[in-house]
C-alpha cells in the first residue's frame, strides 16, 4: 500500500473517536449504579477499544512509517489526536455519560452504516463488524435516555444537564472537512453532513419518548479533528499513556 497521509488522517479520526470513548467508559468499571450497568458499559468500552485497534493499525499502514496501533494510542500528544471533542468529555454522573453515548453512538451507527460500503476494503470490513456493535450501544443509550428522562424529577434534571453539557460538541460531528474531499469523492470516506437529517430524526424521536426537549441551537465548540482539544484530553492521555511514557521501549 502506498503511503497516503489523508487516508491515515481519516483512519486516525475514526480510531481516536473509539479509543477515547472506550477509555472514558472504562473509568466506570467497578463504580456503576448496578452490576448490570457495569457489565454493559465494559462491553461497550471493549467494543470501542477493539474498533480503535483496527482503525489505528490501518492508520499505521496508510501512513507507512512503521507505527502500530499502540504507538498511536500511547505515544502521541494531544495535538496529534484526531477524535471529536464529544468523546473526550468527562463522564460526570450516569446521565451525563448516557447523554454523551446517546449523541455519539447514534451518529457513529449512521457513520458506520455508510462506511461499510466504503471503496476502501479495510475500512469497509471494520465498519461492517462495528456497525452491529454500535447499534447495540445506541440502543442501550436510547433506552436509558428514556428511563432517565421519563423517570423521576431528579433523573430528569440530571439528564437535561447532561445533554446541556454535551450538546455544544455535536456540531463538530457534521462538519465537512475540505481536507477529506478527495476521500469523500473517491467513495472512501463518509460525507458527514449527509448524516445530519437521520441523526436529528433519531435524536428527536428518542427525546420525545423521554419527554425531553431538544437542546436549543447554539454556537458549536470545535477543534478536535485538527488537534485542538478540550482541557480534558491531556489528563486522559497522561493517565492512559503513563506506563509507555515511564518505561520507554519496554514490552508489555
Amino acid at each position: 500500500m502506498l503511503p497516503d497521509a489523508t487516508l491515515a488522517d481519516y483512519a486516525l479520526r475514526l480510531g481516536d473517536d473509539s479509543l477515547v470513548l472506550g477509555q472514558r467508559l472504562s473509568e466506570w468499571c467497578g463504580h456503576a449504579p448496578m452490576l448490570e450497568i457495569d457489565l454493559a458499559l465494559s462491553n461497550i468500552a471493549l467494543d470501542l477499544i477493539g474498533q480503535a485497534s483496527h482503525f489505528l493499525k490501518f492508520a499505521g499502514r496508510a501512513e507507512g512509517r512503521g507505527r502500530d496501533a499502540d504507538s498511536f494510542a500511547f505515544r502521541r500528544d494531544a495535538l496529534d489526536f484526531r477524535n471529536c471533542l464529544l468523546v473526550e468529555q468527562p463522564n460526570g454522573d450516569f446521565a451525563q455519560t448516557m447523554a454523551r453515548q446517546f449523541l455519539f453512538s447514534n451518529w457513529q451507527e449512521l457513520l458506520f452504516a455508510q462506511l461499510q460500503h466504503s471503496a476502501n476494503d479495510t475500512l469497509a470490513d471494520i465498519a461492517r463488524k462495528a456497525v452491529k456493535e454500535v447499534a447495540y450501544h445506541a440502543h442501550f443509550a436510547n433506552e436509558w435516555m428514556v428511563r432517565l428522562g421519563d423517570g423521576t424529577e431528579e433523573s430528569r434534571a440530571r439528564t437535561i444537564a447532561g445533554l446541556e453539557w454535551m450538546w455544544r460538541f455535536t456540531g463538530e460531528l457534521f462538519e465537512r472537512d475540505p481536507a477529506l474531499k478527495p476521500l469523500v469523492d473517491a467513495g472512501v470516506a463518509v460525507d458527514v453532513p449527509s448524516l445530519r437529517p437521520d441523526w436529528e430524526d433519531r435524536i428527536s424521536r428518542t427525546l420525545a419518548e423521554a419527554r425531553l426537549e431538544l437542546p436549543k441551537p447554539r454556537r458549536w465548540v470545535m477543534g478536535g479533528r485538527v488537534g485542538h482539544h478540550s482541557e480534558h484530553l491531556g489528563h486522559l492521555l497522561s493517565e492512559m499513556q503513563f506506563l509507555q511514557r515511564a518505561y520507554p521501549g519496554a514490552m508489555w
Binding site: Q23, P33, L39, S42, N43, I49, D70, R147, L243, A250
Partner: protein, 332 residues
C-alpha cells in the same frame, strides 16, 4: 473461595440447632447429599444449611464485586491496547460472576439489596485478598496468576457442591477462571523476561501477594470447626489446608519457571510427603484483615458504598419509569 470463615459465623450457624429439625426429613436430606444429589431451591433443607449457604454464596458474590476494584484500578493505565482489552474483559467477567452468585443466593430467599446492605454495613464479609492495594502493573499479573489461581483451586470442587444453583454458577465461573489465571501468568512472564525495572516490579508483586494468597484458603483446619459439617453437607469438598497445600505445590514450580523467588525461606520440597513444606502464615494479619483492618479495606468499602449511593437515583429512575410505563399500558 472468596469466602472467609469467621468464628462469629460458626456461632451464628450453630445457634440454629439441627435438633429442632424434623429427624426424618433431616435424615432423607443427609442421605441425598451423601449420594451427591443436588438440592434444589424448592426442596426441603435444614435451616442451618440454608443460612450457611446464604452466607457462603453472598460472601463469594461480594468478593467478585469488591474484587473488581483492585484490578479496575489499572484498566485506564493498562500498557497497551491488547492488555487493556484483556483486563477489561477479565474484570467484566468478575462482575458477571457476582451476578450469577447473587442470583444463586436469591434462590435461598434473600434479595440482592439485602445482601448489598449487609456488605456495606460491615455485617457481610468478602475475601481478605481484596484489601491489599495494586501498586504497579505487575500486581495485575500477580493477581491473575495467584489470586485467580487460588480461586480455581477453591472453586473447581464447588462445581460438585450440593446446592444445585451454586454448583451450576460455579461451572460457568470456572470456565472463565482459567483464562484469568493464564492472562496473569502471561503478564508475569512478560515482565520477568523484560527490563530490569520490569523484573523488579514482578518480584516485588510476588513478594507482596504470596502470603495474602495463601491466606485466601482460610484459617488452618484446626481453627475451622465448621469444616466437618460443611464437608458433610458438600458445601465444601476439601479442607482449607488441603487446598492450600495443593496451591503451593502447583504454584512454586511456576514461580521457578518465571525465575522469581517465592518469599519464604522455609519453602522446601519434601520428598517423603510428596509436597512442599512451607513457612508459617501470619494468622494475626489474616484475622486483622478479616476484622476490616486490611491496608485498603476503607478504600474498598468507601468505593462500593459510593457507587451504590451515587447510583441510587439511577435505580430509582428505572423503577419509576417502569411503573409509569406499566400504568400507561394498563390505561390503553
Amino acid at each position: 473461595m472468596y469466602t472467609t470463615e469467621l468464628k462469629e459465623r460458626n456461632q451464628a450457624v450453630q445457634g440454629l440447632s439441627l435438633e429442632r429439625e424434623d429427624p426424618e426429613r433431616l435424615a432423607a436430606f443427609e442421605a441425598r447429599v451423601a449420594a451427591d444429589d443436588f438440592i434444589e431451591p424448592k426442596d426441603w433443607m435444614p435451616e442451618a444449611y440454608r443460612k450457611t449457604l446464604i452466607r457462603q454464596i453472598s460472601q463469594h458474590a461480594h468478593s467478585e464485586s469488591v474484587g473488581m476494584l483492585p484490578e479496575g484500578n489499572w484498566i485506564t493505565r493498562a500498557p497497551n491496547l491488547r492488555r487493556k482489552a484483556i483486563l477489561l474483559a477479565k474484570v467484566q467477567d468478575e462482575g458477571g460472576h457476582g451476578l450469577y452468585l447473587y442470583a444463586a443466593a436469591e434462590t435461598l430467599g434473600i434479595t440482592r439489596e439485602e445482601m448489598i446492605e449487609a456488605l456495606h454495613s460491615g455485617r457481610a464479609k468478602y475475601s481478605t485478598i481484596f484489601n491489599y492495594p495494586t501498586l504497579t502493573w505487575a500486581d495485575i499479573g500477580a493477581i491473575g496468576w495467584l489470586v485467580d489461581g487460588a480461586a480455581i483451586m477453591n472453586q473447581v470442587p464447588l462445581q460438585r457442591t450440593s446446592y444445585g444453583p451454586y454448583a451450576r454458577a460455579m461451572v460457568r465461573i470456572c470456565k472463565e477462571e482459567s483464562f484469568h489465571q493464564r492472562q496473569g501468568y502471561e503478564i508475569m512472564m512478560t515482565l520477568a523476561n523484560g527490563t530490569d525495572a520490569q523484573k523488579r516490579m514482578a518480584q516485588d508483586a510476588l513478594d507482596r501477594w504470596w502470603w495474602p494468597s495463601l491466606m485466601m484458603f482460610g484459617p488452618p483446619d484446626e481453627n475451622s470447626p465448621n469444616t466437618a459439617q460443611s464437608v458433610r453437607w458438600r458445601i465444601k469438598r476439601e479442607t482449607n489446608d488441603e487446598l492450600r497445600q495443593k496451591f503451593v505445590d502447583v504454584t512454586v514450580p511456576q514461580a521457578d519457571a518465571l525465575g522469581l523467588v517465592v518469599p519464604d525461606p522455609k519453602l522446601k520440597w519434601n520428598e517423603e510427603r510428596g509436597h512442599y513444606d512451607f513457612g508459617d502464615i501470619d494468622w494475626d494479619e489474616f484475622y486483622a484483615v478479616v476484622r476490616g483492618e486490611g491496608p485498603v479495606a476503607k478504600e474498598r468499602m468507601t468505593a462500593r458504598v459510593k457507587a451504590w449511593e451515587d447510583g441510587k437515583w439511577v435505580r430509582d429512575a428505572a423503577a419509576a419509569h417502569a411503573e409509569k410505563r406499566g400504568m400507561r399500558i394498563a390505561a390503553e
